[in-house]
């Protein structure tokens, strides 16, 4: 069963009130979402807290399921927006580049199946915020530019420009580590 099929089946069960299906869905997306949110808030506890809030919204809204990527887009968009809310509350819109951090190693260990993705994730920290977020969606979450556009609220034109710059920087960063993009 593909990830999409599994996700669809779980979602259908969840919408019919199956608690176990909801919990499985949560576990399926939790870590990726939390790591994504972490890129905004720079704090693992806060990121987890926000991820919980995203799933609360899922419980409440039960948006229509239009495929795994769309579902993921919904989750990540809400995650991004709640993160921005959180940053507003802190009265600062973004961590400075110096403050940008990766998630704790233990979290990475449990999330990344391949060494390549882990290296990629770590290399992303060297990028400016917008590029970092874009690359995380494309390379870590395997989402398309269309979906990244929706999640980040940035025009396609700008996304491509960001992507070009980010790839260049990433390649350089990864080469140092002996990994390829």
């Amino acid at each position: 069963m593909s990830c999409d099929d599994k996700s669809r089946e779980l979602y259908e069960h969840f919408r019919q009130g199956d608690k176990a299906a909801f919990e499985e869905l949560v576990m399926l997306y939790r870590q990726g979402l939390t790591l994504f949110i972490h890129r905004y808030v720079n704090d693992m506890d806060t990121a987890e807290d926000i991820a919980e809030d995203v799933f609360v919204k899922l419980l409440v809204k039960k948006p229509p399921y239009k495929g795994n990527a769309s579902f993921k887009t919904w989750l990540f968009t809400v995650g991004r927006n709640l993160s921005l809310d959180q940053l507003r509350k802190r009265r600062r819109y973004a961590p400075t580049e110096e403050e940008a951090q990766t998630a704790p190693t233990a979290v990475e260990d449990s999330f990344f199946e391949s060494e390549r993705k882990r290296a990629l994730y770590r290399a992303l920290s060297a990028l400016p915020r917008e590029e970092r977020l874009l690359m995380q969606l494309i390379y870590i979450e395997d989402l398309s530019y269309d979906h990244a556009e929706k999640i980040l609220g940035v025009s396609k034109k700008k996304l491509y420009a960001l992507s070009r710059k980010a790839k260049e920087a990433l390649r350089e960063e990864l080469t140092k580590e002996g990994t390829e993009l």
Partner: protein, 339 residues
């Protein structure tokens, strides 16, 4: 990272807390709406000058006024001859009079919770020492209310949907709806929204929250249209939708109120354990919202610990006089004679 069980448990707990909060707001909102309606209708009939201490109206059937309870003494007191002067017991009770004449210039409206209120007032005290009135229902242009406006140093009017309640069977009600709609189209109103919007954009989360309770149109038009990306607007829209869920129920409830006699609803509120909450404004006691005795007590607890000299009085709804003269006119103000 939290373990699976903890993470899932937190989600359910948050969902439950959210549901509880919405239920609470629905109750508060529906009650508060009614209270403000009552204030407006009362004001419509009251003498124009605040200093004249308007007398309670006495036409129409009267709900006997036998007791008050709550914040002052926590007990019940028999009141003599309530039919002649339903609220006379206030001026006859020295202790109560002293209580309600304590200076204070704060008016509170539900539903803002204690924490929000505390934060808000603290912030304002620190900024310029003035106290604002935040009327989250926004259906009454308080700046045009003679006795209220004088006491307030600044007024925010934030609310929604007043126009939806217009009902030809209730002319008195419609008068204030007309006034409200006119006010909403006025420069003053736009100015207030703009200021609020600027505060929100400047990171004032309270202002932001208030705006989120406003209609989407107004929200987009005046506040976020140029400043926010589409995705942010979508997210905010999702937040607004949540408020709309609350307001939808609130609207339904308010319309239901209009379809029935206000008196009946007051009686229902009594049976629901809800009373009216008053505060003192320059020696006058003014109804500010419909709350439970417990909520009133909590508010007082907060006020006592603050630098504000102001107390709320919880009045059992049986203390109110309800007119039934065909125009749904209802008098619920509690006024003090002495200054």
């Amino acid at each position: 990272m939290k373990d699976r069980e903890q993470f899932i448990e937190n989600i359910y707990a948050k969902k439950e807390a959210r549901d509880r909060s919405i239920r609470k707001r629905i109750v508060a909102a529906s009650g508060g709406m009614l209270a403000l309606v009552l204030v407006v209708t009362a004001l419509t009939l009251a003498p124009e000058s605040a200093g004249n201490s308007p007398k309670p109206q006495t036409n129409g059937p009267v709900i006997p006024t036998h007791q008050y309870d709550g914040a002052l003494a926590g007990d019940s007191t028999e009141i003599s001859e309530p039919e002649k002067e339903p609220l006379a017991f206030l001026s006859e009770d020295e202790e109560l009079m002293e209580y309600i004449q304590s200076p204070g210039t704060v008016a509170l409206t539900a539903p803002i919770d204690k924490g929000e209120l505390e934060e808000f007032i603290k912030e304002k005290e620190e900024s310029d020492g003035k106290i604002r009135v935040v009327n989250t229902y926004g259906i009454i242009p308080l700046s045009e209310v003679s006795y209220g406006g004088k006491a307030f140093t600044e007024i925010f009017e934030v609310g929604a949907y007043g126009y939806r309640f217009k009902d030809d069977n209730h002319p008195a009600y419609n008068r204030y709806i007309d006034a409200f709609v006119a006010w909403r189209g006025s420069d003053d109103c736009h100015k207030i929204y703009k200021e609020l919007g600027e505060k929100a954009l400047g990171g004032d989360s309270y202002a932001e929250k208030l705006i989120m309770m406003e209609t989407k149109d107004m929200f987009y038009e005046l506040v976020w249209s140029k400043e926010q990306s589409e995705a942010e607007l979508e997210a905010l829209e999702a937040e607004i939708e949540e408020y709309h869920e609350i307001w939808a129920v609130y609207n339904e409830k308010a319309e239901e109120v209009l379809r029935t006699e206000l008196k009946d609803d007051l009686e229902k509120l009594v049976s629901d354990g809800v009373g009216l909450c008053c505060t003192t404004l320059n020696g006058e006691t003014v109804l500010v919202g419909v709350v439970t005795a417990e909520q009133c007590e909590q508010m007082n607890e907060f006020l006592e610990n603050s630098s504000l000299v102001c107390r709320l009085i919880y009045l059992n709804p049986s203390s109110f006089q309800v007119n039934d003269d065909g125009e749904s006119v209802t008098i619920v103000t509690v006024t003090s004679e002495a200054k």
